[in-house]
């Protein structure tokens, strides 16, 4: 029985980073404001413990942060870059898509930046509005060569982050900011990894497959309970965890069994990652489908401020979608 400690999500991230700095002398953590502990406190205490050459602030420049991280990784360091909000990752898009993702392929495996991990707070937080609420995973899902990972809880966060750091491919790790303080679990103190590209079945069921990631898993858990109580419908809940490369096998196997699929994410519906899942599942499981695949997502608007309660794919929208699928 490994020793655990009560940690919230930001503390589980700190724990993963602490483990990494302790065991890997090449590991460095950098980004805006990480030195004093970070705007979400993910790096509290690390600079004092490991030194200012290992945990340091960079100038305010995302393209620089990621470019710098790529170079450090290419030179052999374990580079952990923090982008302050996923909403601000776009200046680094060229470095991520054109450089990090393609480094190994274009060089014939002479060079790579597999030691690079990029972390960014992600998702809605109640009042974040356009620029503190975004879920940009779909932009990166279209980019062969990187991995995109999103945890739902502190235990998952630490294990998946350590897996990303260990993984020899550049990884983007999105951390649901609304869960930083709200999600609390007993988290193992020692390092451990959770496999990437393996979806997790949280609850088995027979009538409907529910697929989500991050914060939305908790919404779907409630939806599954509502469906059971009010409709007598048994839901199988899957946490995708890794968006790219995603575990098509687990999802398709589930839909073959249930015949119905609901995918839900906060990001806007058009071109959102649910579209990729839906497309693949209908190719692989067409004859097993009892109803069209349902996507309950954000509307095709920028993320609004005062209208957030109407915008988000809440449990009522998901519940209604299940009802429609059952009655199709």
């Amino acid at each position: 029985m490994r020793p655990t400690q009560k940690m919230n999500l930001f503390q589980s991230v700190t724990s993963a980073l602490d483990n990494t700095l302790a065991s890997d002398p090449t590991a460095v953590i950098f980004g805006e404001d990480v030195a004093f502990g970070g705007v979400f406190r993910c790096t509290v205490g690390l600079r004092d413990k490991y030194g200012k050459d290992r945990v340091f602030n960079t100038p305010l420049c995302e393209q620089g942060i990621v470019g710098f991280g790529i170079g450090a990784a290419v030179a052999g360091a374990t580079a952990i870059a923090e982008i302050q909000f996923a909403d601000y990752i776009y200046p680094a898009f060229d470095q991520i898509v054109n450089e990090a993702a393609k480094y190994r392929y274009r060089s014939g495996n002479l060079f790579d930046c597999g030691n690079l991990t990029i972390r960014a707070p992600w998702g809605c937080v109640g009042h974040g509005s356009l620029y503190h609420s975004q879920s940009p995973e779909a932009f990166f899902a279209h980019c062969p060569g990187i991995k995109v990972v999103i945890p739902r809880s502190p235990v998952q966060a630490k294990g998946l982050l350590l897996a990303c750091i260990a993984d020899q491919n550049p990884c983007i790790f999105f951390e649901p900011k609304i869960l930083y303080r709200a999600a609390v679990e007993q988290v193992p103190v020692e390092p451990y990894t959770i496999p990437l590209s393996q979806a997790e079945i949280l609850q088995e069921g027979s009538d409907v497959t529910l697929v989500a990631w991050g914060t939305q898993i908790h919404v779907m858990r409630e939806v599954a309970n509502m469906a059971q109580e009010k409709l007598g419908v048994s839901c199988e809940l899957i946490d995708l965890q890794t968006i790219l490369p995603w575990d098509t096998e687990t999802v398709c196997k589930s839909v073959v069994k249930t015949g119905r699929l609901l995918i839900s994410h906060e990001a806007p519906i058009t071109g959102g990652f649910a579209a990729e899942i839906s497309s693949t599942v209908q190719e692989e499981c067409f004859l097993n489908l009892e109803a069209p695949i349902s996507r309950v997502c954000g509307y095709d608007t920028p993320f609004p401020h005062i209208f957030e309660p109407f915008y988000i794919p809440d449990k009522w929208k998901c519940f209604e979608a299940i009802k429609k699928m059952i009655n199709y």
Binding site: G64, F68, G71, A72, N98, R104, R106, N109, Q168, P245
Partner: protein
């Protein structure tokens, strides 16, 4: 290895002093309204060792390299020139898909490469083939990359001139401009922590210096105290865009002080000036953990690439001036002939020999098969993924079924 400059530290605030207390700058007050004039008429001077004819101006600046070293400089510059002529021509004949020559900039490559340690990491843009040649990259591998044949270290994945060599510490070239600049800062930071006396050099053109990534790289390298040389090849053009449409300030060297970076402008067609500046920058960059900016003024004698015809935007007279009156190869040749180190016979036989070796490598490369099509699917990630495996199998099934429509015979099995 500490910086001597202390201006980053905040002084305790004391409003009794008539000095500004702002954390953001360390300066005096002034009560005259004066805008600082950007010095574009008489800018940062150009350091040189030889005049345009190749005579040493100030003997104290002659690096006094051995005859063997200087001959090697000359032979590498001319071998590069020979390879450029042959490969440019091969593109015109449809043998390779694309090429970029280095005409006129050979001095910037060889002078700087010679001043580095072989373990120093090079991040380039795309017009630095002479650096790789100086380090010993064989003609066969230059050709293999341009032909994208089965010997290409890059496994045929990129357009010609996108060279790379792990053994020679030359990071593989990528097409997007200036992306290497912040990467070089990160690599230098990692090397600083390794503490093994290694530096990074980062090459880019004056056009790429306009990219945001350049600003990012300069600022990061200075604030994070990286052992790094930024080497800007200011060759007068970014494709068709002349420098007066690229910037309005005093070139790239003038930007260095804005970042807190030691900077110098050199005559890029003077291989000794390039050598001296790079050597000193490298020594100090590693000893003091700070970046240096070298702006090497030169001229792009060739077209931007085989996709460009520069007669559309500049005169033949202008190009001829640089080719005939201020060329790094001619200037070094004069230095050598003055010392009796190189004769007309040497020149003739070297030209013949270098052309022969280039042609032989060329013919070998042309005959070689292309890489196995399996290599389209590897190295996307370190490991093969189930999804890519399925796509790979699907591709082969398709190609088997429609094999007469695919040029399989050209590819390695």
């Amino acid at each position: 290895r500490n910086r001597t400059l202390d201006r980053c530290r905040q002084q305790p605030f004391d409003s009794t002093l008539e000095k500004p207390q702002f954390p953001g700058a360390s300066a005096d007050f002034v009560d005259q309204l004066d805008f600082i004039q950007p010095n574009v008429i008489s800018g940062i001077p150009v350091y040189r060792v030889m005049d345009r004819q190749g005579n040493i101006i100030n003997p104290s600046q002659d690096p006094q390299l051995s005859k063997e070293t200087v001959l090697n400089f000359y032979q590498k510059m001319t071998l590069l020139n020979t390879m450029d002529r042959i490969l440019y021509e091969s593109q015109r004949q449809g043998r390779i898909s694309f090429y970029m020559t280095n005409y006129g900039e050979e001095g910037t490559h060889i002078g700087s490469a010679a001043a580095l340690d072989p373990n120093d990491i090079v991040f380039g843009q795309y017009r630095e083939a002479g650096v790789l040649m100086y380090r010993g990259f064989p003609l066969d591998l230059f050709m293999a990359q341009c032909y994208a044949n089965a010997d290409d270290l890059g496994k045929g994945r990129q357009m010609p001139v996108h060279y790379g060599s792990k053994d020679l510490n030359f990071v593989t070239i990528s097409s997007p401009l200036a992306t290497q600049i912040p990467q070089a800062a990160g690599a230098a930071y990692a090397l600083k922590r390794e503490n093994m006396n290694r530096a990074v050099i980062c090459y880019f053109g004056e056009g790429a210096a306009s990219e945001g990534d350049a600003h990012a790289g300069f600022n990061f390298s200075a604030t994070l105290e990286c052992p790094l040389i930024f080497f800007c090849r200011n060759n007068g053009y970014a494709i068709s865009t002349p420098t007066n449409e690229q910037y309005r300030g005093d070139g790239i060297a003038a930007r260095g002080p804005g970042y807190g970076m030691l900077s110098i402008r050199v005559d890029g067609n003077d291989v000794f000036a390039v050598y001296n500046a790079t050597k000193e920058a490298r020594r100090r960059a590693v000893a003091e953990n700070q970046p240096f900016l070298i702006e090497a003024m030169t001229y792009r004698i060739g077209h931007h690439s085989t996709s460009d015809d520069s007669s559309a935007y500049r005169s033949v007279d202008e190009v001829n001036y640089w080719d005939k009156q201020d060329h790094p190869i001619s200037r070094l040749r004069h230095y050598m002939t003055t010392r009796g180190w190189w004769s007309e016979d040497d020149e003739r036989s070297w030209r013949k020999q270098s052309r022969k070796t280039v042609m032989e490598a060329f013919e070998r490369a042309e005959k070689r098969l292309k890489p196995n099509v399996e290599l389209m699917f590897t190295d996307v990630y370190q490991e093969m993924t189930p999804g890519l495996n399925k796509q790979r199998e699907s591709m082969w099934r398709h190609v088997q079924q429609y094999k007469e429509h695919y040029p399989l015979d050209l590819y390695d099995k």
